[in-house]
Symmetry: C2
Subunit: 125 residues, 2 copies
DNA sequence: CAGTATCCGGTAGGATACTG
DNA sequence: CAGTATCCTACCGGATACTG
């Protein structure tokens, strides 16, 4: 893509397109779950162990949303004790590269942002 | 970047890196303002007209955050009536390409996601 | 093990009114 | 014109307890 490639993609319909993804990936846990599942299929508890700080409730909720949106598939095995495995679908996997692009930006520019915050805070007093 | 380039960029420190950008760009208006300012420097009211639905309060707040983070520069002219212009900094501009990558993903896959939601909803009853 | 169900506090963000 | 200052509400997400 070249330099001036139309932010109309973003503003397009008054921002509905961008809002759509933001609503999908911008909550506290979605990206983390997707990134974790990129390692391969995983069980509920396993997932919970890989994502420090997540509550059972939010793990369940976020997985349901991802399942609903077709980013994650859920497979329940009729066993006792129950076993449920989650896996990224092709659609889910396709989100990884753009997410990494963004993560790359974050890591690359985090220093500048923190520096800017300090000078901003200094100017405030 | 190649296919398996480590989602550790995302999960890295328990998600602190990704959380950092998400906190920065994932609110309701940030991306829209940045995309709009990509057209060039703009005054407060002008910005408000280009972004349908935004309240005065949220425009001010979001601009302050962007200024604090060094993504947007604010220039106030000592005139009556006052004139204030906002402009993307180099750092702000650097966010556009990654944002477009994400927007591209959203547009490309939105159909699949909506379809998935419908079958999911159908299965629920 | 893999979830629900319930309660509850913090906060994002809208509406409205006022001001240098 | 370019903002503050308040008030108010919805809802995100944590903690905890219970269950097939």
């Amino acid at each position: 893509m070249d330099e001036y490639q139309h932010t109309c993609m973003i503003r397009g319909d008054g921002g509905r397109a961008i809002r759509a993804i933001l609503d999908r990936i911008c909550d506290k846990w979605t990206m983390l779950i997707v990134a974790t599942l990129d390692d391969g299929r995983m069980r509920f508890t396993e997932l919970k162990e890989h994502i420090p700080g997540i509550s059972q409730r939010m793990l369940t909720l976020t997985l349901r949303h991802l399942e609903r949106d077709g980013l994650v598939s859920r497979t329940a095995y009729a066993e006792v004790p129950p076993r449920v495995e989650y896996e990224l679908t092709a659609l889910g996997k396709s989100l990884i590269p753009p997410a990494l692009t963004l993560a790359g930006w974050a890591i690359e520019h985090n220093g500048e942002i923190l520096a800017s915050r300090e000078t901003y805070a200094a100017r405030q007093k």
